[in-house]
Amino acid sequence: MKDLLFFLRLAARRRLSWMLAGALLTFTTLLAGTALLTLSGWFISAAALAGLAGAGAVFNFFVPSAGVRFFAIGRILSRYGERLVTHEATLRVLADLRVWFFRKAIPLAPARLGGLRSGEVVARVTSDIEALDNLYLRAVAPAAAALLLTLIAAGFLALFEPRLALVLLAAMGLAGVAVPLLIARLARRSGKAQARAAAELRGAALDGLQGAPELLAHGASDRAASALESASLRLSVAQRRQASLGGLGGALILFTTGLALVLLLLIAAQAVAEGRLSPPLLAMAALLLLGVFEAAGPLARACQSLGQTRFAARRLRSLAETEPAVRDCESPQDLPPGGDLAFERVSFAYGPDAPPVLHDLSLTVTEGERVAILGESGSGKSTLAHLLLRLWDPQAGRVLLAGTDISRVRQAELHQRIAFLSQDTPIFSGSLRENLLLGDPEAEEARLWEALDQAGLADFVAQLPEGLESWVGETGVNLSGGQGRRLALARALLKPSAILLLDEPTQGLDASAERAFFATLAQAARGRTLVLITHAQHLEGCVERVYRLDKGRLQPAP
């Protein structure tokens, strides 16, 4: 509950007026509907009695019939407004939530977002945010409106017979509060099971699809299909239970309505018999009750998904409030200019229980030097790059840049100093130019082409009809894996940083392209410090020193 309130406060901070307006319109819609029923009930009962008494001619029907028309039209207009305003509010809250999370995520990336392969975490985050944006539309606005309507209706009933008001309050308390809470509690477990089953299903689907060549070749695809089916079955079971609980909530509310209606009629009949209540008011009260209970229906449906929403809220909040792996220190120093770098007796593991990756590692590279670090995959080469960028902090030892401990300088300044190509650098939807300008927003046309040329992509881009303006990414030209890699490489080369840190730059390139790239890399690095992480072989003339990283220890290669 705390987590839901947290997000409500977050939403209300900027969008309170939209939210209030939406809830108010939800309320006026309900009110007009209830008033229409109530007034009609009273009107025809009173008219019937007047007709029977032969007083039909003197009955003032103008006011009630005008009221009936007023409420009917009012309800339609209010309803239209309600839907527009609540959706406007929801969409604004959604935008806020996204921006809020994005801001929170900046210091967390990549260490706390599932490392550099953040796909899974991101998929979860987006679905959590979507679950939350319905919180207001489906739960808060209807609940607030229902509460207000109940109070007003009870007050109105109390004018005629206080006991009727009590019946209404008690019943709405049951239907609007107790039942939703009960259902939310019951749905907690199946909500979790549903989330788990959905994740398993995605895993099974990806397993099967990515493994398709081998599975098909060995005739094992049945296995993948039945794994998918059993995950799908588990999801179905959880979903059915969720739906059943939602149905149960609706049924309980309906039954509460019945109980309240019977009780109200008995009390009102008693009051009529005792002459304390005029008979048409009995019909009015009965219809009023039915009108007010219209407001309880949405609450039943909201409570069924409340468990999931709360789950989403908790996950999102705890992720956003995770302590970042690294923080800028209290009073950061300015980073002096230069491209010297050094590791001093650095030891590192990704977590307290994780196996150690680097042991007591030392390395010094002076400005303008070019070194390569070779090593088996899994030997900690990429970790070395992550520590230099201070994406993680080492448990022992320190990393120096331009003679300064990097934990004492601002991360932004540190990142500016290093042009990094990671193993899976993404290409963003947008033009080729936009993707390149990420490296250097001020780069001129010639510089862009030079970088493309160094990365071996210039010929390809030159033959595209739209050249640098070609749209790439999900909705644009599909780059092959190798081409995407070259684009990312060009982007890294463009970044005007003193240090060039390339993690497997030739991955996905064939041998001749690789050779061509290394042949020109020294020239492309042009006086910058180059740290090249690779397992490529032909580095002659490209680097000045070669190290080998083996089981977390660094040795000069022969």
Binding site: F43, A95, A198, A205, S221, A283, D510
Partner: protein
């Protein structure tokens, strides 16, 4: 009971309130969707029956309530007289509550039954299209189709289809009930009912014209947030993260204003429904009131309060099934959109040899001849040409070569030159448009898939790892291998080198999609599987791509000794692998450009 605004999904295509993008969407996909409802017929019928019974009980409820009120107001009876009526009323409402619950359960059952069947069928259809097709469509997107697209059918089967059946039956039943007691009111309702679908359609058409373009823009913007969040580390390292915040807000704001433009029109159609419902209720109330007062005399006998109240109570409920249908109409829209995507995904790319079961992908026809039981296997490709997609790009262009039994053949060439495709053609995972593939002189298409499969071991470029322990992953293609065999294979492929350091050894579970293993470790695991197979034909795709030179050399030595007497075809970049081959074919742009005997 309620007309909660539909929880419109706020992004992209799922939003489309009607067939905005394409008016024929419903015609094309409606039948396809209903075809899938077959296995859930029983559950759907139960859902409809519950809804129908509940609706009929609503008529009884109105009758009882009106009678009770009549008893007090007109007959001036005390509360004692109400007891029997109210007892029955409570019973009726309790029954309605139970029916509501049962109906929800039946609807959910129907939906999950359909989704389960659909999911398996679509998954098999995806596998049937083979690895090339899966790569082209990206496995991540396909997994989403399997999950989200199919989830989009939930509301359609659970709620929309039952609501549709009830939207005709219940209003009719209620009008008949009213007709039997007060024909004028029934006529009043009958006059408005047919107008509703008419006006809703008119509004819907207007919406279609105005928002087709909006939706396209929405789809483009929809993925923005996800993409930027995924690339956040990169943006941060380039010092662009803070600047992207503004971009995220700008794009989301764009989504908002465009979405609202669509919604403003979409909500009009439900406003039309509300308008007629309200008009009818107000009309009924006025008619009844005026009749009681004697100001309007359309009937011969005087109207009793009981009848009037009955009509007034039931009048709004006449529109309730229609309102329900409108509420769930967006379920239909999202189901149609999802159906369209799935159908285009699956129907546009029918493989050249259809009607094969996906679990038997090796040959076009089955059962075929068993593979002759020779000691070793020889292969030959004759003028094989394979085009991708709609025939634009040529993957293989007249490739012919043969592999003698016991030979080690390396396929070399730049990435994209067709090495992987050659292996997949040999395996029958892709059907060439032209040319033939022979195993021991017999065309692949004539051979019995099971007999082929038993005699090959294949390692793809991205070895398949799944949720499970290292040992379970090793046993994937040899479920019956003994512990000793598994361990021997693991040792030979160097898996034990890293597994020994893990606390649980070979019983260590692999995380999400084998997360936790590096590329090189995954390759060694896959190689261990190959060793475990003991098959006469080995087809390996870049088996040492992620290994350093020392590990590679050690592994190749063991591979060479394993390959003795077996036929081995390896696609590779690595000079060390090429050095161990007895013959090398160099490929470029789908052709063999050079052959090298060693």
């Amino acid at each position: 009971m309620t007309d909660l605004p539909p929880p419109e999904s706020l992004e992209g295509r799922r939003l489309s309130p009607t067939e905005l993008r394409d008016p024929d969407l419903g015609r094309r996909n409606g039948a396809w969707l209903r075809g899938w409802a077959r296995p859930a017929r029983g559950a759907l019928a139960a859902a409809v029956a519950c809804g129908a019974l509940g609706g009929l009980l609503l008529i009884v409820q109105a009758f009882l309530l009106a009678a009770a009120i009549h008893l007090v107001v007109v007959m001036q009876r005390g509360p004692e007289a109400l007891w029997p009526l109210l007892a029955v009323l409570l019973l009726v409402i309790a029954l309605r509550a139970l029916l509501h619950w049962a109906g929800e359960r039946a609807g959910a059952r129907a939906a999950t039954l359909v989704k389960q069947r659909l999911r398996r069928a679509v998954f098999e259809a995806m596998l049937l299209r083979g690895p090339g097709w899966i790569r082209e469509h990206r496995s991540g997107a396909l997994a989403s189709a399997l999950i989200e697209q199919i989830e989009a059918f939930d509301g359609y089967f659970a709620r929309y289809l039952p609501a549709m059946a009830l939207a005709v039956f219940l209003p009719a039943a209620m009008v008949v009930a009213i007709l039997s007691r007060e024909p004028v009111v029934a006529l009043l309702l009958l006059a408005t009912l047919p107008l509703i679908p008419l006006f809703m359609a008119l509004v819907g058409m207007g919406a279609a014209a105005s928002s087709r373009r909006q939706l396209q823009a929405l789809t483009r913007m929809g993925g923005h947030f996800v993409e930027r969040l995924r690339g956040l580390a990169t943006l941060k390292l380039y010092g662009r993260a803070e600047a992207e915040l503004e971009e995220v807000r700008r794009v989301t704001d764009g989504v908002r204003s465009r979405t609202l433009a669509v919604l403003r029109i979409a909500f009009l159609s439900s406003a039309v429904l509300e308008f007629f419902a309200a008009l009818a209720v107000a009309g009924v109330a006025l008619y009844l009131g005026l009749s009681y007062l004697g100001l309007l005399t359309l009937r011969t006998a005087p109207l009793s309060l009981e009848v009037g109240l009955f009509c007034l109570l039931l009048a709004p409920d006449v529109y309730l099934p229609l309102r329900n249908l409108a509420t769930h109409y967006h379920d239909r829209a999202s189901a149609l959109a999802a159906a369209e995507e799935l159908r285009t995904l699956l129907e546009s790319d029918l493989p050249q040899a259809p009607a094969r079961h996906p679990t038997a992908p090796l040959a076009a026809a089955q059962p075929g001849r068993p593979l002759p039981q020779a000691e070793a296997i020889g292969l030959s490709l004759d003028d094989v040409t394979l085009r991708l997609g709609a025939g634009e790009r040529i993957a293989l262009d007249g490739v012919s070569f043969s592999v003698a039994p016991g030979e080690i053949l390396a396929l070399a060439g730049p990435s994209g030159s067709g090495k992987t495709t050659v292996l997949e053609v040999i395996l029958g995972l892709r059907q060439p448009q032209q040319g033939s593939v022979l195993w021991n002189g017999v065309p692949l298409a004539d051979l019995d898939p099971a007999s082929l499969r038993a005699r090959l071991a294949y390692m793809s470029q991205r070895p398949h790892l799944f949720h499970g322990t290292l040992a379970q992953n090793l046993r994937l293609f040899n479920p019956d291998a003994s512990d000793a065999q598994v361990e021997a294979a693991a040792r030979a492929a160097g898996v034990l080198d890293f597994a020994a350091e893990l606390p649980q050894g070979l019983d260590t579970p692999l995380g999400e999609r084998g997360f936790g293993l590096s590329g090189g470790q995954a390759q060694r695991l896959a190689l261990a599987r190959v060793f475990l197979r003991q098959a006469p034909l080995l087809l390996l795709d870049e088996p040492t791509a992620h290994l350093d030179r020392a590990t590679e050399a050690a592994l190749l030595e063991r591979l060479a000794s394993h390959a003795r007497g077996r036929t081995l075809v390896i696609a590779t970049h690595s000079p060390a692998v090429i050095a161990m081959a007895s013959r090398v074919l160099h490929l470029a742009e789908g052709r063999i450009v050079a052959e090298e005997q060693r």
